[in-house]
């Protein structure tokens, strides 16, 4: 810890209540990670419900899961991983102070995220037309144990919906950051928002890394890679 309060002229980004840059950056990093821990627990509730019902009604989960589109799911996972890479590259560029590259990678991230959401929207639409949304019109055609299938779809929409909401929030923040980056707000010395946003984006990616096998890949052995 710093031993003294030293005014630091060149760095305008230092808030008044911090002693120095290091303390400020540390605070942001710790804060962000703590926030991500709350996010883990937030999704945790849904994961518990998922595991509980999956073990109770394996037949319903297997056949309902087979209603999802494996190809779209896998492709979307790939898209999201790509966006994670571009995000990592954006942070990398920021740390080297390469503004153009930073903006470029951020925009790429945005586009990839958009593709992901687009695909997701298509899938939702598909579920809607096939009456696979829980509610009065629900109908899990050809499902085993259709009586319990609504639980799967409730979880499907709950989990992917929450995930998509996180993406949407990310979109807004990312757009702001892109504007700021193109205006040259970030330097190799200070680009904390980019870095923090990166952590958030990767977290959202990780959630999907779990959602994909849990929702799309149950008991595919009977249907194959269809």
């Amino acid at each position: 810890m710093a031993s003294q309060v030293v005014p630091h002229e060149e760095v305008v980004t230092l808030k008044h209540h911090f002693a120095n840059d290091e303390q400020q950056l540390d605070a942001s990093t710790i804060g962000m990670w703590v926030f991500l821990v709350t996010e883990i627990m937030f999704f945790g509730g849904l994961f518990l419900a998922y595991f509980a019902y999956r073990q109770a009604y394996p037949a319903a989960f297997a056949s309902a899961s087979n209603k999802t589109n494996l190809w779209l799911g896998a492709a979307n996972t790939t898209v999201l991983i790509c966006s994670s890479l571009t995000m990592a590259m954006a942070v990398h560029s920021a740390s080297l102070g390469k503004r153009t590259l930073l903006v470029l990678f951020l925009i790429l991230t945005l586009i990839l995220g958009g593709v992901f959401l687009g695909v997701k929207a298509y899938e939702y639409h598909d579920k809607w037309v096939h009456h696979e949304v829980p509610g009065a019109h629900f109908d899990c055609e050809g499902c085993d144990d259709a009586g319990h299938a609504p639980l799967f779809f409730s979880l499907y929409f709950g989990m992917t919906g929450l995930h998509a909401t996180h993406m949407l929030v990310g979109f807004v923040i990312l757009s702001i950051i892109i504007v700021q980056a193109s205006r040259g707000k970030f330097t190799a010395k200070w680009y904390t928002p980019v870095e923090m946003f990166g952590l958030y984006w990767h977290f959202v990616d990780i959630v999907w890394i779990f959602l994909f096998p849990l929702l799309y890949l149950i008991d595919r052995s009977h249907t194959g890679l269809k």
Binding site: D144, G147, H148
Partner: protein, 363 residues
Amino acid sequence: MTMEPKSFQLFPESASNFAPTVDGLYTYMVVVSAFFSLLVAFLIIFFAIKYRARPGQGVPKPVDEHSIGGMILEIAWSVIPLGLSLVMFAWGASIMFSESRPPKDAINIYVTGKRWMWKIQHMEGAREINELHVPVGRNVRLTMTSEDVIHDFFVPAFRTKADVLPGRYTTEWFRPTQVGTYHIFCAEYCGTKHSGMIGWVHVLSAEDYDKWLAQGSGEGSMAEGGESLFNQLGCANCHVKGGHGRAPNLYGAFGTKVDLSDGTSVRFDESYTRESILYPQAKIVAGYDKIMPTFKGLISDEGMLKLIEYIKSLGDPNGVVPGRNLPSEPSDIQKTGPMAAPMSETKAPATVSKTSAATGKQQ
């Protein structure tokens, strides 16, 4: 026979086998608690007076915790309370275990909670609402479910209660020890008239109980009611005695272990029966096809209880019904019902299993 409730008393009436032990544990806890509460109160009052500040007094010397054995104190006041309270744990746990295992010879009574009343069905056919007649000195087992929200069947004089859940069965048992009339309360909040969901347990002498049963409804026993439902709903079309090709034999099935098509097994109990009828495809008996239709929406919760009682009556699981094997150990078995599914590990297939029992069937 009704005891006039006194307006000032510290214990509810003591009218079941559990009451004395629970009161004993309670007394132990009160004594331990009183001791510690008074000890703490005494210490702080005593110190507050003895060491009260006097004008002109300087800052007291910090106490050297080592010299007065700080560590020993800390250990003492952690370990002694822990020891005393582990007695509470063990005692309480043993009570809970005995409350959880209804004796084999218990009379079965079925309870259905519905906002805001208790519907009670006796095996012999008698039905009552918000009243429960039981004989003194006999073990009584309640199998309970709810038609809507969670309720809780609570008899303070028996010192026992259990939640009553929709879509599931829960169990409560007791042995009344004192003839009399006691409160039934609903102890889980269930909406507007939660506080009106009350009733009376009438503990009768053996003779009175028999008399009471004899004047019961003319409806016939629950099993009979279940049988007519069984025929009405067409269950008998597929499930025939001895079992043939299409559907498994239900005779002597209750209480056994059933092997399922996915390699796991479940115990044939109340919840499994219910699930088999409402969600037939949730668990498929090994060797059979998924042809049983769902009866969801066609059977009331009370009707379900009758069917269960009927299926139970179809054979004593302890009897010699070929092709059914009893579980060797309770923990060996899966359970059913909402939230009751096969455990994740694969169970070794039982040597004598239903699959082998089904060898007689033509494919």
